[in-house]
Subunit: 306 residues, 2 copies
Protein backbone atom coordinates (compact mmCIF):
# COMPACT_ATOMS: atom_id res chain seq x y z
CA UNK A 1 0.00 0.00 0.00
CA UNK A 2 1.22 3.49 -0.74
CA UNK A 3 -0.29 6.09 1.53
CA UNK A 4 -2.29 9.02 0.30
CA UNK A 5 -0.26 12.08 1.23
CA UNK A 6 -2.68 14.47 2.87
CA UNK A 7 -1.67 17.96 1.90
CA UNK A 8 -2.26 20.38 4.72
CA UNK A 9 -1.10 23.05 2.32
CA UNK A 10 -4.02 22.35 0.00
CA UNK A 11 -6.63 21.85 2.73
CA UNK A 12 -5.53 24.97 4.55
CA UNK A 13 -6.06 26.94 1.34
CA UNK A 14 -9.59 25.53 1.18
CA UNK A 15 -10.29 26.64 4.76
CA UNK A 16 -8.79 30.06 4.25
CA UNK A 17 -10.69 30.58 0.99
CA UNK A 18 -13.94 29.66 2.74
CA UNK A 19 -13.23 32.05 5.61
CA UNK A 20 -12.30 34.81 3.14
CA UNK A 21 -15.55 34.28 1.26
CA UNK A 22 -17.50 34.24 4.51
CA UNK A 23 -15.94 37.54 5.57
CA UNK A 24 -16.71 39.10 2.18
CA UNK A 25 -20.29 37.86 2.37
CA UNK A 26 -20.72 39.16 5.90
CA UNK A 27 -19.51 42.55 4.73
CA UNK A 28 -22.29 42.72 2.16
CA UNK A 29 -24.67 43.24 5.07
CA UNK A 30 -22.23 44.62 7.64
CA UNK A 31 -19.73 46.76 5.69
CA UNK A 32 -17.65 47.54 8.76
CA UNK A 33 -17.31 43.93 9.88
CA UNK A 34 -13.80 42.97 10.94
CA UNK A 35 -12.10 39.82 12.18
CA UNK A 36 -9.07 40.90 14.16
CA UNK A 37 -6.41 38.59 15.57
CA UNK A 38 -4.01 40.05 18.13
CA UNK A 39 -0.71 38.19 18.57
CA UNK A 40 1.26 38.92 21.71
CA UNK A 41 4.97 38.26 21.38
CA UNK A 42 7.41 38.61 24.24
CA UNK A 43 11.01 38.91 23.10
CA UNK A 44 12.30 38.14 19.66
CA UNK A 45 12.82 34.42 19.01
CA UNK A 46 13.53 33.90 15.36
CA UNK A 47 11.31 30.81 15.10
CA UNK A 48 8.46 32.77 16.68
CA UNK A 49 8.97 35.55 14.17
CA UNK A 50 8.55 33.06 11.33
CA UNK A 51 5.32 31.62 12.76
CA UNK A 52 3.89 35.03 13.58
CA UNK A 53 4.61 36.39 10.12
CA UNK A 54 2.87 33.39 8.58
CA UNK A 55 -0.22 33.99 10.70
CA UNK A 56 -0.40 37.70 9.95
CA UNK A 57 0.21 37.16 6.25
CA UNK A 58 -2.48 34.50 5.86
CA UNK A 59 -4.98 36.58 7.82
CA UNK A 60 -4.35 39.60 5.61
CA UNK A 61 -4.61 37.57 2.41
CA UNK A 62 -8.20 36.65 3.07
CA UNK A 63 -9.38 40.03 4.33
CA UNK A 64 -9.03 39.39 8.06
CA UNK A 65 -6.84 41.62 10.15
CA UNK A 66 -3.98 40.79 12.42
CA UNK A 67 -1.89 42.86 14.70
CA UNK A 68 1.31 42.14 16.52
CA UNK A 69 1.88 43.39 20.04
CA UNK A 70 5.60 42.90 20.35
CA UNK A 71 6.89 43.35 23.87
CA UNK A 72 10.45 43.55 25.15
CA UNK A 73 12.05 40.53 26.82
CA UNK A 74 12.43 42.68 29.93
CA UNK A 75 8.67 42.84 30.52
CA UNK A 76 7.36 41.79 33.93
CA UNK A 77 4.43 39.47 34.53
CA UNK A 78 2.40 42.40 35.85
CA UNK A 79 2.94 44.48 32.73
CA UNK A 80 2.20 41.52 30.48
CA UNK A 81 -1.02 40.98 32.41
CA UNK A 82 -2.02 44.58 31.76
CA UNK A 83 -1.42 44.11 28.03
CA UNK A 84 -3.69 41.05 27.97
CA UNK A 85 -6.42 42.82 29.95
CA UNK A 86 -6.30 45.77 27.55
CA UNK A 87 -6.79 43.39 24.61
CA UNK A 88 -9.65 41.67 26.45
CA UNK A 89 -11.37 45.03 26.72
CA UNK A 90 -10.52 46.21 23.22
CA UNK A 91 -13.73 46.01 21.24
CA UNK A 92 -11.80 45.85 18.01
CA UNK A 93 -9.98 42.63 18.94
CA UNK A 94 -11.71 39.29 18.30
CA UNK A 95 -8.96 36.79 19.03
CA UNK A 96 -5.91 36.89 21.26
CA UNK A 97 -2.99 34.50 21.24
CA UNK A 98 0.24 34.56 23.17
CA UNK A 99 3.06 33.22 21.07
CA UNK A 100 4.88 30.47 22.98
CA UNK A 101 7.47 29.95 24.27
CA UNK A 102 7.88 33.30 25.96
CA UNK A 103 11.31 34.82 25.44
CA UNK A 104 11.69 36.79 28.66
CA UNK A 105 14.27 37.68 31.26
CA UNK A 106 11.88 37.71 34.21
CA UNK A 107 10.01 34.69 35.56
CA UNK A 108 6.63 34.69 33.89
CA UNK A 109 4.08 31.92 34.40
CA UNK A 110 2.84 31.28 30.87
CA UNK A 111 -0.21 29.28 32.07
CA UNK A 112 -1.24 32.16 34.30
CA UNK A 113 -0.91 34.63 31.44
CA UNK A 114 -2.88 32.48 29.02
CA UNK A 115 -5.64 31.98 31.57
CA UNK A 116 -6.12 35.75 31.64
CA UNK A 117 -7.37 35.73 28.07
CA UNK A 118 -11.13 36.22 27.79
CA UNK A 119 -12.42 32.71 26.96
CA UNK A 120 -14.45 34.21 24.11
CA UNK A 121 -11.26 35.61 22.56
CA UNK A 122 -9.16 32.52 23.32
CA UNK A 123 -8.77 31.45 19.68
CA UNK A 124 -5.93 29.06 20.52
CA UNK A 125 -8.37 27.28 22.85
CA UNK A 126 -5.73 27.02 25.57
CA UNK A 127 -7.33 28.69 28.60
CA UNK A 128 -8.23 26.28 31.36
CA UNK A 129 -11.89 27.15 30.91
CA UNK A 130 -11.91 26.14 27.28
CA UNK A 131 -9.67 23.14 28.02
CA UNK A 132 -12.12 22.11 30.74
CA UNK A 133 -15.09 22.41 28.43
CA UNK A 134 -13.31 20.33 25.79
CA UNK A 135 -12.31 17.71 28.38
CA UNK A 136 -15.96 17.48 29.50
CA UNK A 137 -17.19 17.14 25.92
CA UNK A 138 -18.95 20.50 25.76
CA UNK A 139 -17.97 20.93 22.14
CA UNK A 140 -20.48 23.68 21.38
CA UNK A 141 -19.25 25.84 24.24
CA UNK A 142 -15.52 25.69 23.67
CA UNK A 143 -12.98 26.76 21.06
CA UNK A 144 -10.99 23.92 19.55
CA UNK A 145 -7.20 24.28 19.89
CA UNK A 146 -5.86 24.94 16.41
CA UNK A 147 -3.48 22.03 15.88
CA UNK A 148 -5.87 19.29 17.07
CA UNK A 149 -8.66 21.00 15.14
CA UNK A 150 -6.49 20.92 12.01
CA UNK A 151 -5.79 17.21 12.59
CA UNK A 152 -9.48 16.44 12.87
CA UNK A 153 -10.26 18.47 9.78
CA UNK A 154 -7.64 16.60 7.74
CA UNK A 155 -9.08 13.24 8.78
CA UNK A 156 -12.63 14.28 7.96
CA UNK A 157 -11.73 15.84 4.63
CA UNK A 158 -9.22 13.29 3.36
CA UNK A 159 -11.55 10.37 4.11
CA UNK A 160 -14.61 12.30 2.96
CA UNK A 161 -16.34 11.15 6.14
CA UNK A 162 -17.18 13.62 8.93
CA UNK A 163 -17.79 10.64 11.24
CA UNK A 164 -14.64 8.75 10.32
CA UNK A 165 -13.26 8.98 13.86
CA UNK A 166 -16.28 7.31 15.47
CA UNK A 167 -15.49 3.79 16.65
CA UNK A 168 -11.86 4.01 15.49
CA UNK A 169 -8.90 3.22 17.67
CA UNK A 170 -6.98 6.47 18.09
CA UNK A 171 -3.50 6.55 19.61
CA UNK A 172 -2.00 9.89 20.60
CA UNK A 173 1.72 10.13 21.29
CA UNK A 174 2.36 13.04 23.63
CA UNK A 175 0.27 14.75 26.30
CA UNK A 176 1.22 18.41 25.87
CA UNK A 177 -1.32 21.12 26.64
CA UNK A 178 -1.16 22.44 23.10
CA UNK A 179 -1.40 19.27 21.03
CA UNK A 180 -1.52 15.86 22.71
CA UNK A 181 -4.00 16.41 25.53
CA UNK A 182 -6.54 18.46 23.56
CA UNK A 183 -6.19 16.15 20.53
CA UNK A 184 -7.05 13.20 22.78
CA UNK A 185 -10.13 15.02 24.10
CA UNK A 186 -11.25 16.19 20.65
CA UNK A 187 -10.97 12.74 19.11
CA UNK A 188 -12.60 11.13 22.17
CA UNK A 189 -15.63 13.40 21.83
CA UNK A 190 -15.78 12.56 18.15
CA UNK A 191 -16.24 9.05 19.46
CA UNK A 192 -12.84 7.53 18.93
CA UNK A 193 -11.45 5.04 21.44
CA UNK A 194 -8.45 7.06 22.50
CA UNK A 195 -5.18 5.93 24.07
CA UNK A 196 -2.64 8.49 25.24
CA UNK A 197 1.03 7.50 25.29
CA UNK A 198 3.90 9.55 26.68
CA UNK A 199 7.44 9.40 28.00
CA UNK A 200 6.49 6.94 30.74
CA UNK A 201 4.77 4.51 28.37
CA UNK A 202 6.72 1.28 27.87
CA UNK A 203 6.64 -0.46 24.52
CA UNK A 204 5.15 2.42 22.55
CA UNK A 205 5.57 0.57 19.27
CA UNK A 206 3.04 -2.05 20.37
CA UNK A 207 0.51 0.68 21.22
CA UNK A 208 1.06 2.45 17.89
CA UNK A 209 0.39 -0.76 16.01
CA UNK A 210 -3.18 -0.76 17.34
CA UNK A 211 -3.97 2.65 15.90
CA UNK A 212 -6.45 3.21 13.10
CA UNK A 213 -5.57 6.87 13.59
CA UNK A 214 -2.12 7.70 14.93
CA UNK A 215 -1.46 11.25 16.10
CA UNK A 216 2.20 11.89 16.79
CA UNK A 217 3.17 14.94 18.82
CA UNK A 218 6.23 13.90 20.71
CA UNK A 219 8.89 16.23 19.33
CA UNK A 220 11.54 13.76 18.17
CA UNK A 221 12.75 13.54 14.61
CA UNK A 222 11.57 10.37 12.84
CA UNK A 223 10.62 8.74 16.14
CA UNK A 224 7.85 6.61 14.62
CA UNK A 225 9.11 3.94 12.24
CA UNK A 226 7.30 2.21 9.43
CA UNK A 227 6.94 -1.03 11.39
CA UNK A 228 5.10 0.85 14.17
CA UNK A 229 2.19 1.55 11.84
CA UNK A 230 -0.84 -0.61 11.28
CA UNK A 231 -1.30 -1.14 7.54
CA UNK A 232 -3.80 1.37 6.20
CA UNK A 233 -3.73 3.62 9.28
CA UNK A 234 -4.26 7.38 9.14
CA UNK A 235 -0.99 8.86 10.42
CA UNK A 236 -0.92 12.50 11.51
CA UNK A 237 2.50 13.96 12.12
CA UNK A 238 2.50 17.05 14.36
CA UNK A 239 6.28 17.17 14.74
CA UNK A 240 8.36 20.21 13.91
CA UNK A 241 11.98 19.25 14.49
CA UNK A 242 14.89 21.24 13.20
CA UNK A 243 17.59 19.08 11.65
CA UNK A 244 21.16 18.85 12.91
CA UNK A 245 22.61 20.90 10.08
CA UNK A 246 22.81 24.47 11.40
CA UNK A 247 23.16 25.90 7.89
CA UNK A 248 19.87 24.37 6.77
CA UNK A 249 16.43 25.38 7.96
CA UNK A 250 15.03 22.00 6.98
CA UNK A 251 12.43 20.65 9.40
CA UNK A 252 11.53 17.06 10.07
CA UNK A 253 8.43 15.39 11.41
CA UNK A 254 8.11 12.87 14.25
CA UNK A 255 7.42 10.12 11.68
CA UNK A 256 9.87 8.55 9.29
CA UNK A 257 7.66 9.56 6.38
CA UNK A 258 9.54 7.97 3.50
CA UNK A 259 9.34 4.52 5.03
CA UNK A 260 5.93 5.03 6.66
CA UNK A 261 4.18 5.86 3.43
CA UNK A 262 4.63 2.28 2.28
CA UNK A 263 2.47 1.13 5.19
CA UNK A 264 0.03 3.87 6.13
CA UNK A 265 -3.24 4.53 4.35
CA UNK A 266 -3.00 8.28 4.81
CA UNK A 267 -0.06 10.35 5.94
CA UNK A 268 0.39 14.05 6.63
CA UNK A 269 3.79 15.34 5.49
CA UNK A 270 6.18 17.64 7.33
CA UNK A 271 6.41 20.37 6.21
CA UNK A 272 3.09 21.04 4.50
CA UNK A 273 0.83 18.99 6.72
CA UNK A 274 -0.41 19.96 10.15
CA UNK A 275 1.58 23.23 10.24
CA UNK A 276 -0.42 25.21 7.67
CA UNK A 277 -3.67 23.72 9.06
CA UNK A 278 -2.86 25.21 12.46
CA UNK A 279 -2.60 28.66 10.94
CA UNK A 280 -5.82 28.20 8.95
CA UNK A 281 -7.78 27.01 12.00
CA UNK A 282 -6.52 29.96 14.02
CA UNK A 283 -7.87 32.37 11.43
CA UNK A 284 -11.11 30.44 11.20
CA UNK A 285 -11.51 30.41 15.00
CA UNK A 286 -10.94 34.16 15.03
CA UNK A 287 -13.58 34.71 12.38
CA UNK A 288 -16.08 32.52 14.22
CA UNK A 289 -15.54 34.48 17.43
CA UNK A 290 -15.74 37.79 15.54
CA UNK A 291 -19.09 36.75 14.15
CA UNK A 292 -20.39 35.69 17.56
CA UNK A 293 -19.24 38.82 19.25
CA UNK A 294 -19.93 41.42 16.58
CA UNK A 295 -23.13 40.01 15.10
CA UNK A 296 -25.18 38.91 18.10
CA UNK A 297 -27.96 36.54 17.22
CA UNK A 298 -26.07 35.01 14.30
CA UNK A 299 -25.28 31.37 14.82
CA UNK A 300 -21.71 30.48 14.09
CA UNK A 301 -20.35 27.55 12.09
CA UNK A 302 -23.32 27.39 9.78
CA UNK A 303 -21.30 27.63 6.61
CA UNK A 304 -18.47 25.33 7.61
CA UNK A 305 -17.96 21.61 7.83
CA UNK A 306 -17.48 20.77 11.46
CA UNK B 1 -5.41 -16.64 41.10
CA UNK B 2 -7.90 -15.36 43.61
CA UNK B 3 -8.09 -11.60 43.72
CA UNK B 4 -7.42 -9.54 46.79
CA UNK B 5 -10.70 -7.88 47.60
CA UNK B 6 -9.88 -4.22 48.19
CA UNK B 7 -12.16 -2.99 50.92
CA UNK B 8 -13.14 0.60 50.32
CA UNK B 9 -14.95 0.38 53.63
CA UNK B 10 -11.69 -0.23 55.47
CA UNK B 11 -9.60 2.24 53.48
CA UNK B 12 -12.25 4.93 53.80
CA UNK B 13 -12.12 4.49 57.57
CA UNK B 14 -8.36 5.01 57.41
CA UNK B 15 -8.81 8.25 55.43
CA UNK B 16 -11.55 9.52 57.70
CA UNK B 17 -9.59 8.70 60.82
CA UNK B 18 -6.60 10.58 59.45
CA UNK B 19 -8.72 13.61 58.59
CA UNK B 20 -10.37 13.50 62.03
CA UNK B 21 -6.96 13.41 63.69
CA UNK B 22 -5.73 16.25 61.49
CA UNK B 23 -8.74 18.37 62.44
CA UNK B 24 -8.20 17.65 66.13
CA UNK B 25 -4.52 18.51 65.83
CA UNK B 26 -5.27 21.73 63.95
CA UNK B 27 -7.66 22.72 66.73
CA UNK B 28 -4.86 22.47 69.28
CA UNK B 29 -3.44 25.64 67.76
CA UNK B 30 -6.62 27.04 66.21
CA UNK B 31 -9.43 26.15 68.61
CA UNK B 32 -12.14 27.63 66.37
CA UNK B 33 -11.01 25.80 63.24
CA UNK B 34 -13.87 24.29 61.25
CA UNK B 35 -14.20 22.23 58.08
CA UNK B 36 -17.67 22.84 56.73
CA UNK B 37 -19.23 21.03 53.80
CA UNK B 38 -22.41 22.50 52.31
CA UNK B 39 -24.56 20.11 50.31
CA UNK B 40 -27.15 21.66 47.99
CA UNK B 41 -30.08 19.39 47.24
CA UNK B 42 -32.86 20.31 44.85
CA UNK B 43 -36.00 18.23 45.33
CA UNK B 44 -36.24 15.03 47.30
CA UNK B 45 -34.96 11.98 45.44
CA UNK B 46 -34.76 9.07 47.84
CA UNK B 47 -31.39 7.85 46.50
CA UNK B 48 -29.99 11.36 46.93
CA UNK B 49 -31.27 11.42 50.50
CA UNK B 50 -29.35 8.22 51.22
CA UNK B 51 -26.08 9.56 49.77
CA UNK B 52 -26.44 12.94 51.46
CA UNK B 53 -27.11 11.40 54.85
CA UNK B 54 -24.01 9.24 54.49
CA UNK B 55 -21.88 12.30 53.70
CA UNK B 56 -23.24 14.35 56.60
CA UNK B 57 -22.95 11.46 59.03
CA UNK B 58 -19.34 10.65 58.13
CA UNK B 59 -18.35 14.33 58.32
CA UNK B 60 -19.88 14.66 61.76
CA UNK B 61 -18.25 11.48 63.03
CA UNK B 62 -14.77 12.87 62.53
CA UNK B 63 -15.42 16.36 63.84
CA UNK B 64 -16.04 18.09 60.52
CA UNK B 65 -19.30 19.88 59.92
CA UNK B 66 -21.85 19.46 57.20
CA UNK B 67 -24.96 21.32 56.36
CA UNK B 68 -27.75 20.55 53.98
CA UNK B 69 -29.38 23.28 51.93
CA UNK B 70 -32.51 21.52 50.80
CA UNK B 71 -34.41 23.44 48.14
CA UNK B 72 -37.87 22.78 46.71
CA UNK B 73 -38.21 21.14 43.31
CA UNK B 74 -40.01 24.29 42.16
CA UNK B 75 -36.86 26.40 42.41
CA UNK B 76 -35.78 28.38 39.33
CA UNK B 77 -32.28 28.51 37.93
CA UNK B 78 -31.98 32.14 39.03
CA UNK B 79 -32.87 31.35 42.63
CA UNK B 80 -30.55 28.35 42.69
CA UNK B 81 -27.78 30.58 41.37
CA UNK B 82 -28.36 32.99 44.26
CA UNK B 83 -28.07 30.12 46.75
CA UNK B 84 -24.72 29.08 45.29
CA UNK B 85 -23.42 32.65 45.28
CA UNK B 86 -24.42 33.05 48.93
CA UNK B 87 -22.46 29.90 49.81
CA UNK B 88 -19.48 31.16 47.81
CA UNK B 89 -19.49 34.29 49.94
CA UNK B 90 -20.18 32.53 53.24
CA UNK B 91 -16.94 32.58 55.18
CA UNK B 92 -18.06 29.65 57.24
CA UNK B 93 -18.40 27.31 54.26
CA UNK B 94 -15.31 25.50 52.98
CA UNK B 95 -16.75 23.10 50.44
CA UNK B 96 -19.86 23.19 48.28
CA UNK B 97 -21.37 20.33 46.34
CA UNK B 98 -24.57 20.15 44.36
CA UNK B 99 -26.13 16.73 44.70
CA UNK B 100 -26.85 15.32 41.24
CA UNK B 101 -29.11 14.62 39.52
CA UNK B 102 -31.23 17.68 40.20
CA UNK B 103 -34.84 16.86 40.96
CA UNK B 104 -36.56 19.95 39.62
CA UNK B 105 -39.66 21.01 37.75
CA UNK B 106 -38.05 23.89 35.86
CA UNK B 107 -35.29 23.56 33.28
CA UNK B 108 -32.01 24.00 35.13
CA UNK B 109 -28.64 23.63 33.45
CA UNK B 110 -26.68 21.59 35.99
CA UNK B 111 -23.31 22.35 34.33
CA UNK B 112 -24.03 26.05 34.52
CA UNK B 113 -24.92 25.78 38.21
CA UNK B 114 -21.84 23.74 39.07
CA UNK B 115 -19.60 26.19 37.25
CA UNK B 116 -20.85 28.92 39.58
CA UNK B 117 -19.15 27.27 42.55
CA UNK B 118 -15.99 29.06 43.66
CA UNK B 119 -13.18 26.81 42.35
CA UNK B 120 -11.58 26.92 45.81
CA UNK B 121 -14.76 25.50 47.35
CA UNK B 122 -15.39 23.02 44.53
CA UNK B 123 -14.67 19.92 46.62
CA UNK B 124 -16.28 17.63 44.04
CA UNK B 125 -13.70 18.95 41.54
CA UNK B 126 -16.35 19.29 38.86
CA UNK B 127 -16.18 22.94 37.80
CA UNK B 128 -14.79 23.45 34.34
CA UNK B 129 -11.85 25.36 35.81
CA UNK B 130 -10.79 22.46 38.00
CA UNK B 131 -11.59 19.98 35.21
CA UNK B 132 -9.41 22.05 32.88
CA UNK B 133 -6.54 22.11 35.34
CA UNK B 134 -6.78 18.36 35.80
CA UNK B 135 -6.92 17.80 32.04
CA UNK B 136 -3.78 19.92 31.64
CA UNK B 137 -1.97 18.04 34.38
CA UNK B 138 -1.84 20.92 36.85
CA UNK B 139 -2.32 18.55 39.77
CA UNK B 140 -1.19 20.99 42.45
CA UNK B 141 -3.69 23.61 41.35
CA UNK B 142 -6.84 21.54 41.08
CA UNK B 143 -9.12 19.53 43.36
CA UNK B 144 -9.37 15.87 42.44
CA UNK B 145 -12.93 14.64 41.80
CA UNK B 146 -13.85 12.36 44.66
CA UNK B 147 -14.59 9.08 42.91
CA UNK B 148 -11.46 9.05 40.70
CA UNK B 149 -9.43 10.20 43.70
CA UNK B 150 -10.82 7.29 45.71
CA UNK B 151 -9.91 4.90 42.88
CA UNK B 152 -6.35 6.19 42.78
CA UNK B 153 -6.05 5.97 46.54
CA UNK B 154 -7.20 2.34 46.54
CA UNK B 155 -4.63 1.41 43.92
CA UNK B 156 -1.81 3.13 45.77
CA UNK B 157 -2.76 1.72 49.15
CA UNK B 158 -3.65 -1.83 48.17
CA UNK B 159 -0.45 -2.27 46.16
CA UNK B 160 1.60 -0.36 48.74
CA UNK B 161 3.14 1.60 45.87
CA UNK B 162 2.34 5.31 45.36
CA UNK B 163 3.81 5.04 41.84
CA UNK B 164 2.01 1.85 40.88
CA UNK B 165 0.10 3.56 38.06
CA UNK B 166 3.25 4.78 36.27
CA UNK B 167 3.90 2.83 33.10
CA UNK B 168 0.79 0.68 33.53
CA UNK B 169 -1.83 0.19 30.88
CA UNK B 170 -5.04 1.74 32.24
CA UNK B 171 -8.39 1.20 30.55
CA UNK B 172 -11.35 3.34 31.59
CA UNK B 173 -14.85 2.30 30.59
CA UNK B 174 -17.08 5.35 30.46
CA UNK B 175 -16.41 9.04 29.78
CA UNK B 176 -18.78 10.76 32.21
CA UNK B 177 -17.86 14.12 33.69
CA UNK B 178 -18.00 12.75 37.21
CA UNK B 179 -16.07 9.50 36.91
CA UNK B 180 -14.74 8.34 33.54
CA UNK B 181 -13.24 11.54 32.10
CA UNK B 182 -11.57 12.77 35.28
CA UNK B 183 -10.37 9.24 36.15
CA UNK B 184 -8.68 9.07 32.76
CA UNK B 185 -6.98 12.42 33.35
CA UNK B 186 -5.95 11.58 36.90
CA UNK B 187 -4.42 8.24 35.94
CA UNK B 188 -2.77 9.77 32.86
CA UNK B 189 -1.04 12.39 35.00
CA UNK B 190 0.05 9.65 37.36
CA UNK B 191 1.81 8.36 34.24
CA UNK B 192 -0.46 5.53 33.18
CA UNK B 193 -1.00 4.83 29.49
CA UNK B 194 -4.71 5.48 29.43
CA UNK B 195 -7.36 4.27 27.00
CA UNK B 196 -10.92 5.56 27.26
CA UNK B 197 -13.74 3.32 26.00
CA UNK B 198 -17.40 4.27 25.71
CA UNK B 199 -20.67 3.42 24.04
CA UNK B 200 -19.21 3.90 20.55
CA UNK B 201 -16.23 1.61 21.17
CA UNK B 202 -16.44 -1.67 19.26
CA UNK B 203 -15.08 -4.84 20.81
CA UNK B 204 -14.69 -3.50 24.33
CA UNK B 205 -13.73 -6.92 25.66
CA UNK B 206 -10.53 -6.85 23.62
CA UNK B 207 -9.61 -3.42 25.03
CA UNK B 208 -10.34 -4.54 28.60
CA UNK B 209 -8.02 -7.50 28.20
CA UNK B 210 -5.09 -5.12 27.75
CA UNK B 211 -5.65 -3.42 31.10
CA UNK B 212 -3.24 -3.67 34.00
CA UNK B 213 -5.72 -1.37 35.74
CA UNK B 214 -9.35 -1.51 34.64
CA UNK B 215 -11.69 1.25 35.81
CA UNK B 216 -15.31 0.49 35.08
CA UNK B 217 -17.86 3.29 35.22
CA UNK B 218 -20.40 2.44 32.62
CA UNK B 219 -23.55 1.94 34.68
CA UNK B 220 -24.62 -1.55 33.63
CA UNK B 221 -25.00 -4.41 36.06
CA UNK B 222 -22.28 -7.06 35.65
CA UNK B 223 -21.27 -5.69 32.25
CA UNK B 224 -17.64 -6.79 32.58
CA UNK B 225 -17.19 -10.56 32.58
CA UNK B 226 -14.35 -12.64 33.99
CA UNK B 227 -12.95 -13.40 30.54
CA UNK B 228 -12.59 -9.65 29.84
CA UNK B 229 -9.96 -9.35 32.54
CA UNK B 230 -6.22 -9.77 32.14
CA UNK B 231 -4.98 -12.20 34.79
CA UNK B 232 -3.67 -10.29 37.77
CA UNK B 233 -5.21 -6.96 36.76
CA UNK B 234 -6.38 -4.34 39.27
CA UNK B 235 -10.12 -4.01 38.66
CA UNK B 236 -11.96 -0.99 40.04
CA UNK B 237 -15.73 -1.16 39.90
CA UNK B 238 -17.45 2.24 40.07
CA UNK B 239 -20.91 0.87 39.23
CA UNK B 240 -23.95 1.46 41.40
CA UNK B 241 -26.82 -0.38 39.77
CA UNK B 242 -30.05 -1.14 41.51
CA UNK B 243 -31.27 -4.67 40.94
CA UNK B 244 -34.53 -5.61 39.24
CA UNK B 245 -36.26 -6.62 42.45
CA UNK B 246 -38.23 -3.56 43.62
CA UNK B 247 -38.57 -4.93 47.15
CA UNK B 248 -34.81 -5.21 47.58
CA UNK B 249 -32.39 -2.31 47.84
CA UNK B 250 -29.51 -4.52 46.74
CA UNK B 251 -27.02 -2.79 44.47
CA UNK B 252 -24.73 -4.35 41.89
CA UNK B 253 -21.48 -3.26 40.34
CA UNK B 254 -20.56 -3.04 36.68
CA UNK B 255 -18.33 -6.09 37.09
CA UNK B 256 -19.40 -9.70 37.58
CA UNK B 257 -17.41 -9.84 40.79
CA UNK B 258 -17.93 -13.46 41.73
CA UNK B 259 -16.47 -14.70 38.46
CA UNK B 260 -13.96 -11.88 38.09
CA UNK B 261 -12.24 -12.55 41.37
CA UNK B 262 -10.89 -15.82 39.98
CA UNK B 263 -8.94 -13.82 37.38
CA UNK B 264 -8.16 -10.37 38.74
CA UNK B 265 -5.24 -9.59 41.04
CA UNK B 266 -7.18 -6.94 42.97
CA UNK B 267 -10.88 -6.21 42.88
CA UNK B 268 -13.00 -3.55 44.53
CA UNK B 269 -16.39 -4.90 45.63
CA UNK B 270 -19.82 -3.30 45.26
CA UNK B 271 -21.03 -2.30 47.75
CA UNK B 272 -18.14 -1.45 50.03
CA UNK B 273 -15.58 -0.45 47.42
CA UNK B 274 -15.48 2.84 45.58
CA UNK B 275 -18.69 4.18 47.20
CA UNK B 276 -17.36 4.78 50.70
CA UNK B 277 -14.06 6.08 49.25
CA UNK B 278 -15.99 8.77 47.40
CA UNK B 279 -17.48 10.01 50.65
CA UNK B 280 -14.12 9.89 52.42
CA UNK B 281 -12.35 11.83 49.67
CA UNK B 282 -15.09 14.47 49.70
CA UNK B 283 -14.53 15.05 53.40
CA UNK B 284 -10.78 15.05 52.93
CA UNK B 285 -11.03 17.55 50.03
CA UNK B 286 -13.18 19.79 52.22
CA UNK B 287 -10.68 19.67 55.05
CA UNK B 288 -7.80 20.46 52.68
CA UNK B 289 -9.64 23.49 51.33
CA UNK B 290 -10.62 24.59 54.84
CA UNK B 291 -6.99 24.51 55.84
CA UNK B 292 -5.91 26.46 52.76
CA UNK B 293 -8.59 29.08 53.19
CA UNK B 294 -8.68 29.43 56.96
CA UNK B 295 -5.00 28.99 57.76
CA UNK B 296 -3.18 31.02 55.11
CA UNK B 297 0.45 30.09 54.77
CA UNK B 298 -0.12 26.47 55.81
CA UNK B 299 0.70 24.07 53.05
CA UNK B 300 -1.95 21.46 52.46
CA UNK B 301 -1.52 17.72 52.03
CA UNK B 302 1.55 17.54 54.19
CA UNK B 303 0.18 14.85 56.45
CA UNK B 304 -1.47 12.70 53.79
CA UNK B 305 -0.27 10.18 51.25
CA UNK B 306 -0.93 11.67 47.86
Amino acid sequence: MVAEIVSGLEYSKKVLTEVGEAIAKTREHHPHFESVLAIVQVGNRSDSNVYINAKLKKAKEIGANGKLIKLPDTITQGDLKREIMALNHDNNVDGIIVQLPLDCKHDIDADYIIDLIDPLKDVDGLTRINAGRLARGELQRTIFPCTPYGCLYLVQQATGNPNFVSGKEVVVLGRSKIVGSPAAALFLWHHGTVTICHSKTPNIKEKCLRADILIVAIGRKHYVKADWIKPGAFVIDCGINVGDDPTSRKIYGDVDTEAAKEVAGYLTPVPGGVGPMTVAMLIRNTYEQAKRRRLPGKESNEEFDH
